[in-house]
Amino acid sequence: MFKSFWLAAAISLAAIGLLAWAFVATSARDSATGDSTSADGSRAKDEPLVVYCAAGVKPPVEAAVNDYRKAYATRVELAFGGSGDLLSRMSVARSGDLFVAADTDYIEIGRAKGLIAESLPLATQTAVLAVPKGNPRGIKSIESLVAPDLRIALANPDAAAVGKEAKSILEQTGLWEQVRRAVETRGVFKPTVTDLANDLKLGAVDVAIVWDATVRQYAELEAIEINHELHSPQTVTIGVLRSSRQPARALHLARYLAARDAGLVAFEREGYKVVKGDRWQNRPALTLYIGGVLRPAVEQTIEEFRRREGVEVNTVYNGCGILVGQMKSGGLPDAYFACDRSFMAHVADVFYDPLDISRTSMVIAVTKGNPHGIGGLNDLQKAGLRIGVCNPQQSALGALTERMLRETGSLERVMENVVSQVPTADLLVAQLRAGGLDAAIVYQANYARVKDHLDAVSLGTAAAVAVQPVAVCTQSPYANLASRLVEALRTAASQKRFLASGFEWVGADRPVLLGSP
């Protein structure tokens, strides 16, 4: 009877719908706390986003921002100028949301001044000699600039990135003073790269040092390469200003500009060599695999990152052996935070260079008061002890434990006392606390959280240390986003949380590199 079927179907659908509605409605309160700064740019806020933009990259940035305005019905104001000029402007004004610099150096200066938080690379450009089409003055190299009565235009080194670059090139060739005098007498210093290109186009000067991308934007100009030993490509970079009162919206636009299928398309069209950007997604979702022991140290940092970026972050906490197994079977995360280097090595071929963040030593956790009088590794051989260790295949701690016991020659005798082998150390702590074990080999970080209930005996060997590295997956469509999360894990605030969770801080100094896998 079809009536009954449709009735049953309708009731089921209604039930599911009602349940979903109840669930979403009651959960809205909880998630609302996290998403007040939702990156969903479709809701145009009253306050426009203010972007300071290096004049040289105006064409692609303007094009991409126009697309963005249309797609997300949001107000964006652009202010153009030389990178150096803009930087001094914003350090005075202490307002605005984003800064597109023609060269990463300005972002780094801004960061050092406390003006800039995150930064995203966009494209690279190289300084070239620009001349009118046909090269009427026969310029061949940087040395040609010393020819008499040549009218040279340079950008002001303090105001524009290309001016700084030109000065650096000329200083290396020892021509700076000579060329500077020539510019001052016959040529001109201009504040932005666009002014230089315009002067050339009008025939007001004979030669200028500009970006290769600028030349491609002017049909009337032609580029002459400068000896590569003197300089290297500079990276056009967008930085998020600390002054931004709407960081999630600012980052949404920054991600759009730096996405390979959104903003970078405009850069490519304008002749820039673009970086390998992330895939565009209104609200991307990062997936993180994290060794279970690290959860208390990273959870809050990840939550803050999620709110600031206005993205989704999926976290999978488990024993590292299990996580590696998952990765080997094809479930790759965007980033992986391992309990020990050894469990990063298994999957190193699909990750960029890992960064060591923290380390923790191993200890013997024992019942409060140490009733069995365990003083060190040797005492674990005492007959009748109930000992717990981690499984060497499933977890980094287990592998380290096995190696340490083997090195001290006590593996076989200690294993006779092992009554519990589990995939993660927290289960050992639970078993100890429930009275099922007399001793367990765990991380200091595991012990630190239960030190009121248990005692610990130091192992005192150098072998007993695990180092926790984090790495970004080479296959991730959001590798840049993931590397910003790694950056967030390396901040002072994150360091505090690691220390509070019983870890020691390693915190490498070098930046997160997405260069070599």
Binding site: M1, F2, S4, F5, S12, A15, I16, L19, A20, A22, F23, T26, S27, D30, S31, T33, G34, A285, T287, G292, V293, R295, P296, E299, E303, E312, V313, N314, T315, V316, Y317, N318, I322, G325, Q326, S329, G330, G331, T424, D426, L427, V429, A430, R433, A434, N446, R449, V450, H453
Partner: protein, 294 residues
Amino acid sequence: MNRTASESSATPVHRVGSDVPFLIGLCLLGGFYILLIVATLVADALFTTPSDLARALRSPEIRYAARLSLFSSAVTTVLSLWVAVPIGYLLSRFRFPGKAFVDATLDIPIVLPPLVIGLSLLILFQFPLGGGTTLEGMVGSTSEWLVGRRWAMTYAVPGVILAQFMVAAAFAVRTLRTAFDEISPRKEQVALTLGCTRSQAFWMVLLPEARRGVLAAATLTWARSIGEFGPILVFAGATRFKTEVLPTTVFLELSIGNIEAAVAVSLLMVVMALVVLVVVRALGAGETVGRAVR
């Protein structure tokens, strides 16, 4: 009389003995298990304090996890019944080639370790289907086309439900098949000879008859899914305020040595499960009693 009694020892007559030893035996054997369950609960309760419980109830993470647990297992139950009723009916009423194979296939989700089920789902949804798409991508684009929003399966709430469904539906099938088996096909055959179609016989005769079986299957499915953990951890992750269900909470709390909170959440689950199961069974019993009276 006396004589007869003495004679009876020579030619024994059957005498009904006391049922007490048998019943005591039953109670002892059964009581052992019930005592074990109650004892663990008491131990749990003694390990925690009212303030631990109160703290667990106040925590927004745990409240979210409780709601997600209730929501997902209820949806799973409805979905499971929709596949379990047809499969149970087909297996119970028909013989067809490959039936043994189908039967064995249905046991796989019960036999496999939960982690393996999660892993298999993960592999399935990330498996390249050609044309650069995956099942996950197809779910995304289909939902985008249908409701204008991109839904995710992996590491998202639908993934929680799918992971629960994978295991729980197998239990529902088993229960319903047994329920259908126990109902004699005689009444349906009578209905067929009286001019019913198979569909009418199913909806009007078999299904009302199997009401208790359906209810049993539903409660078992629900109970099974609310306790499900292994496949969820792997396939849906343990993201707070997103895919964290109550068993995940227990796992997360345990993983930092916070046994008090883990136990408090476990007790919360026990209470929730007891309330739901008792209420549903009472409703079900009421219904069957009502039918009997009519």
